[in-house]
Symmetry: C4
Subunit: 230 residues, 4 copies
């Protein structure tokens, strides 16, 4: 029963990143977790989004043991699982090669908080990891991708900064649910597009004031949020 | 009766900014005013455009008191209301985080009149406000956003320059009606895209002559306008 | 009879520039000429493309006298007519504010022949006019827009270079027919997009060799053309 | 019989490059080969993709003699045929003027391996040919286009680097099948877009480590591939 609604939510998150133009062909993957049962649902590897059904999703435990499903899970499974183990407040993870987020990741630079759209979703920079070392690449590459992310978040709250750029690779985003993770992945791409254009318009552009960052973040999040219908 | 047609016009303005690709998710908001009744209709906060109905719009007076509606108004209501109080010739206000307009706003630079497309709609620069001070941000932020706009327009005619970039934030546009405000928001974004590309093609690009700016503005506006069907 | 097929061809050219994303709202206009009757059909001013019908087109003679139609012709009529009078081999004219062509026009720079896509359609640069003087702007502006184009083409063959950038304004394109004019306007925009990106990738980029320009132009045009079905 | 399935596969490859936005009008062409029969199917020249039928494809032998079909083959036929003769492992070739791939080709620069999306498909740079000499252009131009590609691949494995930029012209891509060639052409364009943005974000950007390039290439290809369903 619970697994069925987890499947539905994760299917929907996968479809959302495609609808919003974040994926080409079979690139990218979304997962979600049921914390009570310790079960994760993730996109199978290499399956086109147009054909993806809830029953195609692969169900694993937090160690990656397949519990349900006949297809191979996404090759990035080990990264997702490490994020679930290390970030206990998150319920969904999305990985894409979305164009502008990936361009920043390949450029190896974090995205500073250049405006209120960014501040509405991310506190401070969208950080970038250091490049993986050869050793990290050659042994347990996907697990080590998770490790460099976790290391980068040593002093950050994953829910206040719900995404990261893996250097030379692409973004990962997350959130309290699979739907929130997909939403944050879409907004990260939107922010990345505007930051790209801004630095070309004004190479001296600086991030907005701490006061403005705080104000916008708190309008949408936290105890005094005023945005939306409550 | 009048309120119904105000609702319809404001719904249509909200739908127009979505159709034209100016909004992601629930970003942005359009409002309109009935000057005779002193009533404003505005998008409710955080409601998806796909689901927005005329009856969802929130009706307030010019002080922000909700007269009709059960949903929370847009969190930017106080900015809209100040613009209506200070710019008596306008009938509609549109706020978006449209990609290129926002990129210029984040870059903190006005958009000079680089060509006739711009001159057809805006006399002179599309201005940018100064950044809000910490004090302006921390107390009555949305009202102060309106105040820095009004201050920037001290010597400008809001109908001849129907939009502004709020530094570090995003554009606001307006017009005689909600429909005109949406139209101007769409054109502002189009102008912002071309200005972005132009300065990259030719960093020495200058604005067009005062004579050309005047000619194009007057072809579309003012007593001797020749554009369109009259 | 002939006028009906002229109307149909010009309607189709107007619809084509919209289908290909070259116009926002009512921007732009296409016309065609029946040389035998000396009649021109042109888009009426300010009419949305979605609603445009063949019967809305305005029929004028080469001096701009309206022969058929109740709507005002495009405000750029005088430019179209001068081009028809001065370039006797052309049968259609298209004016748009397409994004990249306009960005180059605003930047005031010609588009050098950076590759074979360009060479397939335009011999040499896509030229840019000088800016109009104040006097040219203030008296008979639209006619003078045509005059600076014609002046720029003093030593060019309009059919071998079927378009131009009017400085600070936007592109005009033309061809043997209204359909060819629309096609060339679309290709001009495509070339403008790639030239924009190329100069950012490699600021030292140079035009391709005269031999390559000639080869590609002649594959598509002229007595030994091998492209397409003949 | 075999020819029918070759026609179907090549039609599908042609339609795919249009669906994915790689072609304007009749630009571009895809072909495929049946190695056993020594027959190639290729798009006819100048036929719109919307109207293309399997029966329109032209069937030639490896020397370009038309075996079936009444239409003229693509004017780039000689390039395709040389690639089939020289690269015995490939089964399909796609040529497009896709916007970003062509922008890099016109800029005359190879695309370095800036990230994992690239490494998933191409080992090392996407190479660029030298410009053709005047003599190569003036005699047997299309054949010589193939020759400069083959020359550039003297020390490269065409299946590990399934595409190239022809300087001043545009990309060619290929693969084991016509479908793979189209897929690689689409991915090449995606990589070109991200590389363009990356070098503007960070002009000092460098390619990713050899270890990361190898890891990603081998995840998708080769004996230990883990991507997808097997």
């Amino acid at each position: 029963m619970l697994v069925e609604s987890l499947r539905d939510a994760v299917l929907e998150a996968n479809l959302e990143i495609q609808r919003q133009g974040l994926v080409l062909y079979t690139f990218g993957n979304a997962s979600g977790i049921d914390r009570q049962q310790g079960l994760v649902a993730i996109k199978p590897s290499g399956v086109p989004y147009e054909k993806l059904k809830a029953s195609d999703l692969v169900i694993t435990d937090l160690d990656g043991k397949v519990v349900e499903g006949t297809l191979n899970p996404s090759s990035d499974l080990a990264t997702h699982l490490l994020l679930y183990r290390e970030f206990p407040t998150i319920g969904g993870v999305v990985h894409t090669h979305s164009e502008f987020g990936t361009s920043w990741a390949q450029a190896g630079l974090p995205i500073p908080c250049y405006g209120t759209t960014h501040a509405d979703y991310f506190r401070g920079d969208i950080p970038v990891t250091p490049p993986l070392t050869d050793e990290q690449i050659e042994t347990a590459y996907e697990l080590n991708t998770g490790k460099v992310i976790v290391e980068r978040f040593r002093s950050l709250d994953p829910l206040a900064t719900p995404g990261v750029l893996v250097a030379g690779h692409a973004p990962f985003a997350w959130g309290r649910t699979a739907a929130a993770a997909a939403h944050n992945a879409v907004v990260l791409e939107y922010i990345a597009r505007m930051a790209f254009r801004g630095i070309l318009i004004n190479p001296q552009m600086t991030q907005v004031s701490a006061a403005l960052q705080r104000k916008h973040y708190e309008r949408k999040h936290g105890p005094k949020a005023t945005y939306g219908q409550r």
